[in-house]
Symmetry: C2
Amino acid sequence: MDGVLVDIYPVFFKLHEEETGERLTLSDIEGKLEAEAFINQRRWVNTPGFFRNLPVMKDSRKVLGRLNDKFEIIVGSLATEFPECMTDKQMWIQENFPFISWKQIVFCGDKNLIKADIMIDDHFKNLDGFEGITLLFTQPHNTLVKDTRHVRVNDWPEIEKLLLKQ
Amino acid sequence: MDGVLVDIYPVFFKLHEEETGERLTLSDIEGKLEAEAFINQRRWVNTPGFFRNLPVMKDSRKVLGRLNDKFEIIVGSLATEFPECMTDKQMWIQENFPFISWKQIVFCGDKNLIKADIMIDDHFKNLDGFEGITLLFTQPHNTLVKDTRHVRVNDWPEIEKLLLKQ
């Protein structure tokens, strides 16, 4: 979800500036995991309500809708680490991706427990152990890694091109 | 969880009597799914707080703890159908099965999305499509089915005997 369906970085930048007065730039945080880049990040994501109203990643609704017509889509989220937030996360999916039913949602603590053929994710910790095809969704924390065994995608139209227009 | 780790039927019997004045017996509800047997069941399980304080199935803590030392245990629950209840369910697991970490918990809408070798469940809808070894945990709704392709287990000591004492 975060960093793939949820456009989470603009929210982190804004909250960080509000709470610390410091305006971070992309170059300040590139290559750092979210919790390293934003000192209060773990508190934010543990706050009930945080996940309820977050911006949708550009083009994700349109492209995921098209993918959902052709593939068996599962929306998976590492959510059991933040047990207060699962209801918010599911409500957010239902509101913003109404074509995804509750049967297609998995909240877990380890994405490698999910049976699937293709994984789209922004984190190496999720992609590296996955046996199927892996698409690395570009986010500031992963941009500095140039060579990976994953296919890098920079936005949802690139995913559409790869998976639907070949 | 329900009907395997959670001893849910005594709760259903009690709530049903409190709300309707009718004292059901086992023979009234045998062979019926929970929502058929107890007319208010869907309301109960959709009520925030319901899953927070439920009785633990006899011997499950002890046996699951022993299994957890030998197997990679995942606690999976069909929970996304009731999005208000996931936090309660996870708190209940953490309280009653403290050896199960958040990394071992999966909340989903379809248990066949979980990668595993053995499934212990009380519902045919979960077991029938599973490719690995399937243990059918006896609960009132499944007792009338005599021949199944699953191994029936009547309690947790039987599971221990099957999986740990061979």
